[in-house]
Amino acid sequence: MRRLREYGFITGFLAIPVILYVVFVISPYVQAFYLSLTDWGGVSAFPSFSGFSNYTRLFEDEVFWKAVRNHVLLLIALPLLVLSLALFFSFLLNLGGGSKGGKLRGVWGSKFYRVVFFFPQVLAVAIVGVLFQAVYRPDEGGIINGALIAIGLEPIGWLTEPSIAFWAIIGVMVWQAVGFYVVLFSAGMAAIPKDVFEAAALDGAGRFRLFFSITLPLLWDTLQVGWIYLSIAAFDGFALVQVLSVDRGGPDNSTAVLPLEIWKTAFSYSEFGYASAMGVALFFMTITFAVLALRVSRREKIEF
């Protein structure tokens, strides 16, 4: 009887969350795999099985490969830029204040800097996109070009120049993300026990030595988490590219990212089958990368 009451309770608590999850999350994912094998929206009005034709088409699709290349670029550039900037700033914040009586201090006002740096993180990406449209404006009215013209340089078509546009978008991602990792790393640094530093300082280690030989290795776990987060972000980019780029992914597909291509293929061209195939490709890329990342970054954990 008691057991029965317990099962009743368990069912009662799990029913709604599980139903919502199955209806809105699981079933669409399962359907997506099936849809990717149909020609729905392309040739026929109803999904009919078309084997792997969507995938063969995908392999010959130039825009798809352009988007994949952009994801690879993001995958390398985004963690590299964000993590090194964030490490640099959190080093300055926490150890850059010089030494007083032999103690290393953070710089004056380090709390204020942290608060300021973190703020872009709470802004919605779509809103940040609109904001940077103004920052990057090609004429004198843009912040950057206004400054360039004022010092006598030629304005740059940040978003209209195919070779620059994607870097301009990466720049916005970096702008928004750095503060989050500064806070994350600062927290990690604060969690390192002081006696480790004291022992090293006793042995005569300088500030840089302390950073590279103690802080960095002990921060490895946090760094690794940050790297995985940013790598997952590298497979997105939808909101920013959709709002910020010229012609949604342009100019000349130079800023194409898969999520945006999926959205366009599905809701602008109504090719649901083909869009699903892109989605499945994106899924396998994400999963492959996640597994690789976990393998590669696994390293002796330092307990303290």
């Binding site: 030494s99 740096f117 990406v125 809103i127 004198e140 927290a187 300082a201 909101a239 699903s276 999963i287």
Partner: protein
């Protein structure tokens, strides 16, 4: 390794003791400190300046906006703010967002905690599978589910409705919420709950009156995480609310205003709308900055 971010703001930096005579003390004034400040201040300006500039631009005229971007508005004109609020409906978008995000987060936390509690504290056949299925949702890109999701919501008659959007938000917030709340409930002491059960409290009552209040720190962090995540959503409303402009949320609204500003040439209105979207977040952030920082970074620390 457990890191709490608020420790970062209160605890001083790691401070190694003096070299104990093994080396001379360092000079007090350090040139590096000046450089450090310069670098930090530069990034601070890069962060803040676009926001201040947006705010100032909302007082400019179209001509001023197309002129040099580094000039100040000649006078403080506030008409653009009225236009953005009334004509461009920023007020309505904001209200819609508040409704959707409040309902979405409340239900997410309720259902997420319920599921997590059961999965953390009770063993029953299939409990492991349910947990794994919930958490595996973290690995799937939402773009893969997007089209079928559109048709699921359409079939339920919930397209272009706030209810539909809220339910979808709740469902997609489950993996993260369940993952972290389960970890939280697992770490709570069992004795208090057991004592309540012996005193005759039902399972449900034990959860709502004892366990949930005990999990408050976790609930606060994950709530903040979900509020910001749902506030930030752009893709889901774009797909699920496409046809009913009156129901749009702020991210959709602002993106649309920026397109319209192009052909209606109301640039000051766009900057006013942007400022309106940014200022409430700034206020919320300044008030809750410690909780927000720890809530968001808690996700990164197991």
């Amino acid at each position: 390794m457990a890191i709490k971010t608020h420790d970062a703001s209160s605890t001083r930096k790691p401070s190694p003791a003096a070299g104990g005579g093994t080396r001379p003390p360092r000079p007090k004034a350090n040139p590096l400190s000046g450089l450090a400040h310069a670098a930090l201040a530069l990034w601070g300006v890069i962060t803040i300046f676009p926001l201040i500039w947006t705010f100032l631009s909302s007082f400019k005229t179209n001509t001023e906006i197309f002129g040099n971007s580094w000039s100040l508005p000649a006078e403080l004109r506030t008409e653009s703010w009225g236009r953005a609020w009334e004509t461009a409906q920023v007020g309505k978008y904001m209200l819609n967002t508040v409704i959707v995000v409040s309902a979405g987060t409340l239900l997410t936390m309720l259902f997420g905690s319920m599921a997590a509690y059961v999965l953390a504290r009770y063993t029953f056949p299939g409990s492991k599978i349910v947990y794994v299925v919930f958490v595996s949702g973290l690995a799937f890109p939402v773009f893969l589910a997007m089209m079928p999701l559109f048709f699921v919501v359409e079939d339920l008659g919930l397209l272009n409705s706030h209810i539909g959007l809220v339910l979808v938000y709740v469902a997609y917030s489950m993996p993260f919420t369940v993952l972290f709340m389960t970890a939280f409930f697992r770490n709570l002491p069992t004795s208090v709950g057991e004592a309540a059960m012996i005193d005759g409290a039902s399972h449900t009552r034990t959860f709502f009156q004892i366990m949930l209040p005990m999990a408050k720190p976790g609930v606060v962090s994950i709530t903040i995480f979900n509020v910001l995540g749902q506030w930030n959503q752009y893709l889901l409303p774009l797909v699920l609310l496409a046809e009913d402009r009156d129901k749009w949320v702020i991210t959709q609204g602002i993106a649309d205003i920026s397109v319209i500003a192009g052909y209606e040439a109301d640039w000051p209105g766009l900057f006013a709308a942007l400022s309106m979207a940014i200022i409430p977040m700034l206020i919320v952030y300044v008030v809750f900055q410690r909780q927000i920082q720890s809530g968001l970074t808690s996700g990164a620390v197991k």
